[in-house]
Subunit: 273 residues, 6 copies
Amino acid sequence: MFFHVKELQYRAKPDKPDPIYAKKLQEVLGGQFGEISVMMQYLFQGWNCRAEKKYRDMLLDIGTEEIAHVEMLATMIAQLLDKAPVEEQEQAAKDPIIASVMGGMNPQHAIVNGLGASPNDSAGYPWNARYTIASGNLLADFRANLNAESQGRLQVVRLYEMTDDKGVRDMLSFLIARDTMHQNQWLAAIAELEEKEGKVVPSTFNRQYEKSDVAYKFISCSEGTESQAGRWAKGPSIDGMGQFEYVENPVGTGQAPELEQAPGYIHGTPKNM
Amino acid sequence: MFFHVKELQYRAKPDKPDPIYAKKLQEVLGGQFGEISVMMQYLFQGWNCRAEKKYRDMLLDIGTEEIAHVEMLATMIAQLLDKAPVEEQEQAAKDPIIASVMGGMNPQHAIVNGLGASPNDSAGYPWNARYTIASGNLLADFRANLNAESQGRLQVVRLYEMTDDKGVRDMLSFLIARDTMHQNQWLAAIAELEEKEGKVVPSTFNRQYEKSDVAYKFISCSEGTESQAGRWAKGPSIDGMGQFEYVENPVGTGQAPELEQAPGYIHGTPKNM
Amino acid sequence: MFFHVKELQYRAKPDKPDPIYAKKLQEVLGGQFGEISVMMQYLFQGWNCRAEKKYRDMLLDIGTEEIAHVEMLATMIAQLLDKAPVEEQEQAAKDPIIASVMGGMNPQHAIVNGLGASPNDSAGYPWNARYTIASGNLLADFRANLNAESQGRLQVVRLYEMTDDKGVRDMLSFLIARDTMHQNQWLAAIAELEEKEGKVVPSTFNRQYEKSDVAYKFISCSEGTESQAGRWAKGPSIDGMGQFEYVENPVGTGQAPELEQAPGYIHGTPKNM
Amino acid sequence: MFFHVKELQYRAKPDKPDPIYAKKLQEVLGGQFGEISVMMQYLFQGWNCRAEKKYRDMLLDIGTEEIAHVEMLATMIAQLLDKAPVEEQEQAAKDPIIASVMGGMNPQHAIVNGLGASPNDSAGYPWNARYTIASGNLLADFRANLNAESQGRLQVVRLYEMTDDKGVRDMLSFLIARDTMHQNQWLAAIAELEEKEGKVVPSTFNRQYEKSDVAYKFISCSEGTESQAGRWAKGPSIDGMGQFEYVENPVGTGQAPELEQAPGYIHGTPKNM
Amino acid sequence: MFFHVKELQYRAKPDKPDPIYAKKLQEVLGGQFGEISVMMQYLFQGWNCRAEKKYRDMLLDIGTEEIAHVEMLATMIAQLLDKAPVEEQEQAAKDPIIASVMGGMNPQHAIVNGLGASPNDSAGYPWNARYTIASGNLLADFRANLNAESQGRLQVVRLYEMTDDKGVRDMLSFLIARDTMHQNQWLAAIAELEEKEGKVVPSTFNRQYEKSDVAYKFISCSEGTESQAGRWAKGPSIDGMGQFEYVENPVGTGQAPELEQAPGYIHGTPKNM
Amino acid sequence: MFFHVKELQYRAKPDKPDPIYAKKLQEVLGGQFGEISVMMQYLFQGWNCRAEKKYRDMLLDIGTEEIAHVEMLATMIAQLLDKAPVEEQEQAAKDPIIASVMGGMNPQHAIVNGLGASPNDSAGYPWNARYTIASGNLLADFRANLNAESQGRLQVVRLYEMTDDKGVRDMLSFLIARDTMHQNQWLAAIAELEEKEGKVVPSTFNRQYEKSDVAYKFISCSEGTESQAGRWAKGPSIDGMGQFEYVENPVGTGQAPELEQAPGYIHGTPKNM
C-alpha cells in the first residue's frame, strides 16, 4: 500500500514560463527512458519478485522514489506552461518570437491538458507499457535498469544544456545526482549477482545444449576488418569460459530454403505459377 | 550497401509443423527483444556512429548478422505453419486437440499472412521502432545492447523448454550460442569504454553541477530495511568516487506545490471554485 | 445502410488559409475526443445495442450526425491548408513569420496528404480504436458519452479562442452548440436510466457479494485532510444506500506478499540467491 | 513524495493457479479502464490541479489508493501463474484440458515475464498514456472519472462471474465495493460543481457566441422515429436553458464543398483531369 | 451530410453462435484491410479531393457503401457472440470443447464489449488511422485502393473457408462479390488515369531531374540470377520510356560515410575514444 | 545470410546542415511508405514465398537493395543534424530564425538520438510492423508493392521541392529514379501474373459461390450522379467477365437487425429497460 506527503522530494520551480521547453522536458517524464518508465519498471519487478527479500524491498524502495520524480517533473512542466500565449491576439502573432512559441509548443498542452503536464514524450507520443521490462530474471532486469539510468541521465544532461533557467537547472541537477546513484546501485547489484551466477544470462541453461563452436566467435559480416581492433575479437572471453575468435569470411551453413506450397484453402500463389 | 546469399546462416527446419508454437516463436522474431530489434538497433547505432571506426565497423558486422537471424526465424515459422488446419472440417473440429490448435494459433497467420511469418510478437502486437535504442553515446548504448542480448537469450532458452521438436531445438541452440557470444562481446566493449570514461554515463557532464549530496544515498521510500542488506547500501560506490549511504527515513525537501490559475481562454476550473 | 448528400450539415469555409491552425484543429477531428471518436462510439453502441429500440435508433441518429461533423472538419482543414508555403524559396525562408509557418505546420499535411486532412490528432498521432467505448451497459456508456461531449466542447472552445478567422469561428460556434445539445441529451438519457436502475453501475450485481464495509469510505492515502471538506466525505451517499465516512489513517489489511519460486524451466532468479 | 508499506490494502491470494484467468484479469490491471488508468488519471489531475486545495488533496488521496490496487492485481496475477505448465511434456500435451491451457494462456506471461504480471490488457495490448484524461477542467474530468469507475466496476463484475475461485472472488468483492464508493464520490463531486457552474462544460464560454438555434435540437439522421420516445427529444433541456425539439427531416445547410487545385509543387491530381 | 436506414445492405445472420469465429471475423472489420479501413480511406480521399467532380462523387459513393459493410459485420459478430459461455460453470469447464472455446475466444468480447463487436482486428489490436491512405494524387491512391480490395477479398475468402455456417457464408459471398466489383472499379479508374498521365506516379515531376541511368536497371543484390527470368529484367519498360537492364554485380558508388564529431553539449562518445 | 560493404549505394551528403529538413526527411525513412517499410515488406514476402524461385530471388534482390536505401537516408539525416543549435545561448534564442529552428526541429533528434537518425516518421511517430504487407498471394502483394512505390515516389518528389540543397537533391534524384524502376518492375510482374490468373484476386475462389448479381454493379450511395461519368459505371468489366451497371437508387435488402438480450452474467442493459 502507498502513502503520499505534500512536499515534493526536491523543489521544482522554474524562474519563468517556457512552453517550448515544457514540450522538450516531457521526454524525461513520458519518454522511453523517462521517469514513468523507471517507476513502472521497478514497481513491476518488485511485485513480480520471487527471489530473496532484499531484492523486492530494494525494488519497491526505488520504484516508490520514482513516483516522486514523476511528480516533480509534472509540477515543473505545469509551471513552465503558466500563461502560455495560445490565445489569438493579432499583435502577438506578428512578433516572430511569439509566433515561433505559438508554432513550436505542443498544441495538446493547451487544447487537451489546459496547461498541464501529460504522460507523453517530447514528440507527443504517449508512454506505453512495452517500455516496462520485468522478466523474472534479476540479472537480466538489472542490466535493463542500468541501461535505463544511463539513457535517462544522458537525456537529462542534454536537457540541462538546453536551458539557462536557474530553477529548472536546479531541479535537473538533483535528478542527475539521483541517476548517478542509481547507476552505481545497479552496478553494485549486478556485481553481486554476476559473482554468484556468472556473466551469461540465464546461468541455469545447460551449456552442453548450445552450439558451443559458435559461442565465442566474432563473425564479420561486413567488409573490412576495423572491427578486429576491439577487445571483443581476441583474448579470453569475459565469462572466462572461452577464447574470442575473429571470423573474417563467414559462410552460411544452413539450407537455401524452399517452402512447400500452401493448401488450397489458403489461396496463395501456387508453386508452379 | 548490402548483399544476400541464399544459404541461411544456420539450418532452420522443424521436424513437424506446430502452429501454436509458431505463434510463440514470433516473440523472438518481432518482440521487444526479438531479432528485428537487435538488427535495427545495431544498424542504426552503426549508421549514426560518430566515434572511432572500429565501433562503426563492429556495429555493422553484428547488425548485418542479425538480419540473417531474422531470416532464419521467419523461415522456421513459415515451416511450422505448413498445412495448418484452419479450414473448417466438421470432423476435425470435434477432436479436442485439433480444436485447441484452431483456437490457440494466431488467426492472422492464416488470414493475413497465408501461413507466413509476420513481424509481430507472440501476442500479435506489431514490432515498433520505439524498441530501437541509438543515443550517440556508445557506453549507454552498449549497456542497452547487453540488456537486449540478456533478455533475448533468456527468452530463447524459455522457448527451447517449450518444445521437444529436434529441428527447432537445433536452431535455437545456435541462437543461444550466438547470444552467449554477444553478451560477451558487449561486456568486452563496455569494459573498454568504462576504463577510459569511468562508470557513470555520460562521463562528460561536469560533476560540480550535480547535487553531490544525494549522489550516493540509497533512499528507502518503503517500510522495512531488508534493502539495507545489499551491496548498494554500504561501502564505496562502484564508480570509486563516493560512499554508499542508507537513508532510512527520508523527507521531502521541496515545496508543497501550488499552481497559479490558468488564463481565462483556457476555460479551466477557476481557483476559487 | 447509409446515404450521403452533397451539402455539409453546416458551412465550413475559412476566411484565409492557416496551416498551423490546421494542425491544431486536427485535435477535434482525430484526437481522443474528436469527431471520429464520437462517430465510432455512437455507431458501435448502436450496432451492439441489445436494449429497447429507442436507444438503438437514438444512437444511430447521433452517430450518423457525427459522420457529418467529421466531414465538416475535414473540409475545413483542407481549405486551411490551401497553398501552404512548403516549397523551398530562398526569400520566403528568410522571412521569420513564413519560416515559423514552415517549421510549425505538420509536415505530413504536405508530404503525406498533399494538403488534405488526416485522421490524426494535433500532435500527429493517429486515431485508434481504443478510444471507442461500447460496453453493452447503456448507463455506463452514456456516462462515457457525456464525458466525450464535455471534453469535446472544452477543446472546441479552446480552439475558438486560438483563432480570429470569422469563417472558422462560425463553424466552431455550430459545433459548440451541438455539443451543448449532446451534453443535454446524455444527461437526459442518464437521468432516465438512473431512475430505473439506481446510480451504481452495473445495477444487477448482487450487493451482498461486495465487501460492504468499504463501499462508502473515503480513504485518505495522502497527508493532510483538505479532502475532508468535500461533499464526498460526509453525509448520505449519492446512491442513497449508505453514509460517506472519512478514514484519515488507513492501514493495509492484506498480506505482505511472498511469491513462490518459479519452476526451473522459467530460468528466473532462484529464491535463495 | 510517496511511501510504501509492505501490507497490501486487502488480501490477494487465489485458491489455486489458473493461467487463463490470469490473462483475463489483466484487463482490469492494464486495460483502458484498469487500475493503471485510474491511478495515472487521478495523479495527473491532482498534479495539474489549479483549483481549490480540497480537489488536489482528494485527487492525490484516491490516486495513491489506486497504486495499491495495481499492486494487489499484480500480486494476484503472479500467483495465478504459479507453476504454469508451459514446459513441453509429451504426456501433458495430449491431455486436452492441459493442451487448451497451454494454447489459451498469454504466451508472454511465460516467455517475457517469467510468470509475472505485465502492464497489458487481456488481449496482450500494452497500456498507453492516451487513456489518461486530465483537461484542467474538473467538471469535465470528474465525468471522465465517473465513466472510468462505471466501466471499471462493470468489468470487475464480469470477471467475478468468470471464476469460482474463492480467493479471487474475495479480492474482487473488495475492488467492487471500492468502485461503488468511487462512483458515489464522483457523483458527489460532480453535483457540487454543477450547482456552482451549471450543467454544460465549460461554463465559462460566452453562450452568445454559439449558434443557439441548434443548441437544443435532436436531429434525427436516421429513418424512423423510435428515438422520439426518449426524454432527450421533448420537454425542458436538462440545463434549464432551452426546450428539446425533435427534427425529423433535417437538411444540410452548408455548401457542397469544392476545393481549389493544389499548387504544382504538391504533385496532386490536377483539377481538369 | 449522411443518413441512415434501418435495413442492412444485405442480410447478416449466422445459423448459430461461434465466439471463436467471431474473433477471427474481426480481421475484416477492424484489421488493416478491413471495412473500417476502406470506409475511412474512401471518405477521406473524397473529402480531400481537389480533382474533377466525378472522382469526389464516386469516392463518397463507395465510402458510404463501406459504412454499410462495417454495419453488417458488426451485426454479424454480435450475433456470433450470442450467449457465449464465459460464465464459470464447473461442469462446462471440464468439457474440452467448451474449455477450448473459453480459452480461444477474445476475452475482451465479454469483459469489455459485453458480447458486442469492437473495432479491432483478429489479434485484438485496435484499428488505427495510419491504415488510411489519402495522398491527394488519385493515381497513387487508386493503386492503394486496388491493393486494399485485393487483400480484403483474399482475407474474406480465407474466412469463408474457415466456417461452414450457412448464414455466415451467405453474407461473405455478398462481400466477396462487392470486392470483385471494387477491384474492377479501381482497375477501370486506374486505366483511365494512366492513359492521361502515363504509368509513373507522379507524372508531373520533371524527368530530367532524376538520375536517368538507374531508372530502368534491375539491380541484383542477392546471389544467383533466378530473378533474371522475369519480365522485369528485360525488354521495354512498362512505361514505354526505357529498356529493362539486369545488373548482376552492382557496386556501391557512394562514399564510405564518416560522420563529424557531435558538439560537446550532446555528450556523445568523442571521436578519438 | 547477408553481407555489408562500406560504400553507400549512392552518395549521401548535404551541402549544409538543416535540422528542420532532417525532421521532414524522416518521413521517407520511417514513415508508412518509407524505405524501412519496403525493406521489410520485400524481405518478408521473399522469406514467406512458396511460389516459383524467380519470385523469391527477385524479392530478396530488391529487399536487400532497400536496406541500402535505409542506410543512405540515415546517413543523410545524421549529417543534416550536424551541430544543430540545441544548446541554450541567450543571443541565439533572440534571433527569430534560430528560434524557429530550435522550435521547429524534432527535439528527440537531440535528446534521444544525439543528432542521429531514428526509425520514425516526420511527425515523430515510430515505424511499426503493421505497415508490412505479406499475404502469400503474390498478385495481391505486388499491388501493395506498386502502391508503396507510387506513394513513396510521390513523397520523395514533394521533399525534393522543399529544399534547394544540391547534395540532398542529388541523392533524392537517385531515389526517385529507383522508384521509377520499381514502379515499372511491379507493373511488369503484375502483368505477368494477371495474364495467368486473371484480374481478380484471389483467382482460385470458385466464382459460383459469390453473389454474382452484385459483382459488377456500381452502387451510388450518395446523392447526384456525377459518378456515372467514369469508366467504372458502364461498359464491360475490366476482368472481361461482366458488364458494369450503375444503380442510382439502391435499397437495403437485409434485415433491420434486432439483437437478443445478453445473458445475466454479462450485466448489460436488459431488453425491457
